[in-house]
């Protein structure tokens, strides 16, 4: 079996809290991504999606401690610390952040910011870099003449396009898009998603799409990983998760999405809130909100294969019929 392009193994992240204690934000996440593959990472706010994405590039704040491995072509990029990580950033894995509003430096033009990454990784210099920047901007649908504009002179959608152009500047193999459409209105959202779709196809990019928005995942991704309380509770091909979810949380998430809801069925909400992560969790973390909890759920379930490329962390799948 070939080595996956990007592999995350046993990733744990703890944040030191002010006033003592720590928050176990990511609790043993495993992911793998093949070249050109598109993975959706979904879950409620605070379930550790963004933390996982940032941890892959070693971008967490200083109060975070990380364990686990992040492999690119089988090489652990976390092992060597910040300095060893730097050459991989933007070249192997680039990231597009939520809210293009602040992700671009307000006092430098978008052109300067793209040129900067080209020059940093030795892709191009001077006039060549500016030409390349113009091409990149064109490829995301921004007229090349806008390179001299400052972020505040562009609309939200344009800024997000500029951020995407910047992420593509060094021809990364993996693009992480963290809530790329969240702050945008619906029409612009659709355009950005189409753009990401086209770019992944044209550039052969692998995509990790971090979002709480299942319809967005449905539009772009082949596979999906559902996170809850810092761990992956189910992963598999999107249509399998949709038709035969192996975890009640996945089923309820789909039922809670208006566009994907079962026919004319009313949109459901999931009562309750995810557990706090600053204290240990007994048993299945979803148990208090689950509609199918039973005796075995006092034990924490582990992520087990339930089908071809489909795994879920739920005791229902191993329940012996009485």
């Amino acid at each position: 079996m070939s080595v996956p392009l990007l592999e995350v193994e046993g990733l744990h992240v703890w944040f030191d809290l002010e006033g003592g204690g720590e928050l176990h934000a990511v609790q043993g996440v495993d992911l793998s991504l093949d070249p050109g593959e598109r993975l959706g990472l979904v879950g409620e706010s605070g379930c550790g999606k963004t933390t996982t994405a940032l941890a892959i590039l070693g971008l967490l704040p200083p109060n975070a401690s990380v364990s686990g491995r992040v492999l690119i072509d089988g090489e652990d990029i976390l092992a060597g610390g910040e300095a060893a990580m730097r050459p991989h950033r933007w070249v192997d894995v680039a990231i597009v952040f939520q809210g293009a509003m602040n992700a671009l430096n307000p006092v430098r033009t978008i052109g300067q910011q793209i040129v900067e990454s080209l020059e940093l990784h030795g892709r191009a210099k001077g006039a060549v870099a500016r030409t390349r920047t113009a091409e990149l901007l064109e490829s995301v649908g921004i007229p090349a003449g806008r390179a001299g504009r400052y972020p505040h002179e562009l609309s939200g959608g344009m800024r997000q396009r500029a951020a995407i152009a910047m992420a593509l500047s060094c021809n990364p193999r993996v693009l992480i898009a963290d809530e790329p459409t969240t702050a945008l209105d619906v029409m612009v959202q659709a355009q950005i998603l189409e753009l990401l779709d086209a770019l992944c196809r044209d550039f052969g990019l692998a995509l990790v799409l971090v979002t709480h928005d299942l319809p967005v995942v449905a539009q772009l991704c082949d596979r999906c990983a559902v996170m809850y309380a810092g761990e992956i509770v189910e992963r598999g091909p999107l249509d399998v998760l949709y038709h035969t979810p192996g975890h009640p949380y996945t089923r309820m998430l789909f039922a809670a999405s208006p566009d994907l809801g079962m026919g004319d069925a009313p949109v459901l909400s999931i009562p309750g809130a995810p557990p706090r992560l600053d204290r240990p969790i007994d048993g299945c973390p979803f148990r208090p909100r689950c509609d199918s909890a039973f005796a075995a759920c006092v034990e924490r379930p582990s992520l087990l294969e339930v089908g071809d490329g489909h795994a879920a962390a739920c005791h229902l799948n191993t329940r012996v019929p009485a």
Binding site: A94, F97, P106, V107
Partner: protein, 320 residues
């Protein structure tokens, strides 16, 4: 075109500010108890005649309104009047003192800006570490020291190694150019160092908080994600944005460079503007005070104007 309007507006505003300040200065000194004449005629048995003669000589017998009009008229012609004290043109007095003050205060201010920015950036970048605690507490320590006390301490420490008073060694007769420069340089060190140490803490704190604010922004995360090195991130992304509040502070304090530092000039017997203002207040030397305050006003206003224009250059979001 973006900018022309903004610049014109700022300049007009600056001119109005100077005019208002000049008028307030005129009124202010005349409101203070005691008059120039009572001070000048403080010789025993000063006769009424002497008082009248003095009043007439300096035009103080005219009404306040007339004095004000004359003052403005002369000002337009660039005439700042004659000092009551040494009967020299005020402009001449001020020029000499300004030339004395500028190198000393400029050196101290530049020193404080450099040290303050450096320590502020370090404190922000090393947030929550002992490095931050040390830089911030030493900055605060110097900031809260009384200026004259710090000056005296430096004199105690460096007396014997460095000259502790005056601007030049008066016993150095007919020095050559380099010798004179070296002499000046050694005299300027202690007063400048005192000024720099007292002022830099303010910069440390402002730079630190401005840097902390920008370091928390999303575009810093983007810069890290791009693979930029920490120092490049600080220079090209964080400091560039943090420069906005810092510029204002720097420009404002550069305005006060001209005012000199009264306490420091007194402790180190530095014959500059600060000391001249202090003496003019004691003597009720209205023309001198008006001249000195005009100079101070103009320099503060001009520096503010520069800050505004720099702001405009640094922050592309300012359009009007």
């Amino acid at each position: 075109m973006r900018g022309t309007d903004y610049v014109l507006k700022r300049i007009a505003f600056a001119i109005v500010t100077v005019f208002v300040a000049v008028s307030i200065n005129f009124v202010l000194f005349r409101l203070a108890p005691g008059t120039a004449v009572s001070n000048l005629s403080r010789v025993p048995h000063a006769t009424q005649q002497l008082r009248h003669a003095l009043e007439k000589q300096f035009g103080l017998d005219k009404s306040k309104g007339e004095q004000y009009v004359i003052f403005l008229k002369q000002l337009v012609h660039g005439n700042l009047g004659i000092s009551y004290e040494n009967e020299q043109p005020v402009a001449t007095n001020l020029r000499i003192e300004l030339i004395n003050t500028l190198p000393m205060v400029t050196l101290g201010t530049v020193f404080s800006i450099l040290i303050g920015t450096l320590t502020g950036v370090i404190a922000a970048w090393r947030r929550g570490t002992p490095t931050e605690a040390v830089t911030v507490s030493s900055a605060l320590g110097f900031y809260s020291m009384p200026t004259h006390w710090l000056g005296l301490m430096l004199i105690i420490i460096f007396a014997g190694t460095l000259p502790t008073g005056g601007m030049t060694n008066e016993f150095l007769l007919n020095p050559g150019f380099w010798q004179h420069l070296k002499d000046l340089g050694s005299h300027v060190l202690l007063p400048s160092l005192t000024l720099g140490l007292v002022l830099y803490g303010e910069y440390t704190l402002i730079v630190r908080s401005a840097m902390l604010e920008t370091l928390g922004e999303d575009y810093i995360l983007t810069a890290r994600a791009k693979g930029l090195k920490p120092w490049t991130i600080i220079r090209k992304h964080a400091l560039r944005n943090a420069m906005l509040p810092i510029t204002t502070l720097v420009a404002l304090s550069l305005g006060y460079v001209v005012a000199g530092a009264i306490l420091i000039e007194t402790v180190f017997s530095w014959p500059g503007i600060g000391r001249a203002v202090y003496e003019a207040v004691l003597q009720r030397d209205y023309p001198m005070l008006q001249g000195a305050f005009l100079l101070l006003t103009i320099s503060v206003v001009v520096c503010n104007l520069i800050a505004d224009l720099l702001y405009f250059k640094l922050d592309p979001r300012i359009t009007t």
